[in-house]
Symmetry: C3
Subunit: 208 residues, 3 copies
Amino acid sequence: MLHAIDLLGVIAFSISGVLVALSKRMDLFGILIIAFVTATGGGTMRDILIGATPVFWMINPEYVYLILIGTIFATFFRKKIDYLRTSLFLFDTIGIGLYTIIGIEKGLSAGLSTPICIALGTITACFGGVIRDILCNEIPVIFRREIYATACIMGGIAFFVLKSLPIDEDYVLLGSGILVIVIRLIAVRFTISLPSLYRNEDDDELNL
Amino acid sequence: MLHAIDLLGVIAFSISGVLVALSKRMDLFGILIIAFVTATGGGTMRDILIGATPVFWMINPEYVYLILIGTIFATFFRKKIDYLRTSLFLFDTIGIGLYTIIGIEKGLSAGLSTPICIALGTITACFGGVIRDILCNEIPVIFRREIYATACIMGGIAFFVLKSLPIDEDYVLLGSGILVIVIRLIAVRFTISLPSLYRNEDDDELNL
Amino acid sequence: MLHAIDLLGVIAFSISGVLVALSKRMDLFGILIIAFVTATGGGTMRDILIGATPVFWMINPEYVYLILIGTIFATFFRKKIDYLRTSLFLFDTIGIGLYTIIGIEKGLSAGLSTPICIALGTITACFGGVIRDILCNEIPVIFRREIYATACIMGGIAFFVLKSLPIDEDYVLLGSGILVIVIRLIAVRFTISLPSLYRNEDDDELNL
């Protein structure tokens, strides 16, 4: 079950990479690389930081095949992909909920402290998109818009709160993962975002 | 003593990250991440390159708390921060002196050769700023302006010269660290910088 | 023999880094760093991903000296370097052939699967240029132009096809390395490139 969601997440992340790469007039190789880093960049950064090498996709090559399939599919049907936007958004949102939990679990098994585990979960969920945006020469979108990382951090906090209660491990995973998803859905539905705090003296309505 | 300087350096680096992030209209999460990579990016790169994982801030979470405090402080007082510019510059300069020495010491304990240890010291001191600038979609400022990395390299050379002399280890650390600080202070005071060597045939006054 | 080609490749990669850095008006330190990451970035990324740390140039400081020499040479003769463009292109092309093979061999000795070894070979050959372009605030050129990574991937596939045949190990290395070089030479000679697949409805001649 978890694994099936993981695989759907990988495909959703790859397709989001393909869409960004297409808008940058990249060639087929560029598209494939952007799809790959979008889907695996967060987990790769996590594994490098904790020293879990070779990184996860080197040991489980099924990720590579899935990303290939996602990329070919999205490239071939690129004119029709707009019809899939809602499904893709859902997969992507489920993906970050799951990736957050996977990152936290990896941090716990490396013996790291609570705040570091929450950071690892957030890195796993968000840094694929950050690396995608750097490679495409953009300021990473999650630094400027949307409750995205914030949802992961809140889910991470929920994980440790639930874990301290006398409830089953499975419900801890499920509850905190679903919280990430719900926060993100609510934020996007009601276009809630963090304040930008732009420091311009003439522009005071943007400031807190 | 060294530890107190380290902590001041972390705070100064965080605040410099906050100031850059604010000028890019980032949201609170973006500001926090930029502050974090500015303060820890150099040491993280050093630890990844030598394989000292989990990287330093995962094992010492006090860095995470300090950066949080520095970020909240700088965000809250962002309109007043200009009054602190001189103090921040001093902390930052003391920080790179100290980070250079920490990087060299880590290289030595990993059994690496002299030039590689100097490179590691320079990476520790400078790469936080490089990653900050990449995330903010700028060409890293240290590639274009100011004696910054050059001060670290000279301090690193001084470290190994002093170390070969029959003097106390403490004076080696102190002398080379202070040299980094003095070179940077002199360079900024007299606006000395490296030549840019721009290769434009019509623009010969810029060339060597 | 292989080692001599490796060293020529390092010098060619450094000089290509210097030329890009000069066009960005970087100072001497910036030029040196760009030369360094262009020459070593691919191998460094490979070593980090598989956990072969400290990374290769920390253990073999001769790379550092070679890059220093290449950088000083190219900076000093920067107005004359255009006469060397053909030789540089040849060294660079031989370099990617060799780097592809080195990356594959490293992957095999880390016990990784065939597709991952091909990916590692391609990363070794191509990511120096990718990091160079990110540091110079450009979308990486290999994502948009030329058969470059494609040549590495094809050489990697050839490596494993040849390896499965009853022929000598040396011919496997030589054959697949030369294939990378030949594909790249043909692609550049006849200006063949991958389609860009730009997704603009008004611009259909660019689409497949």
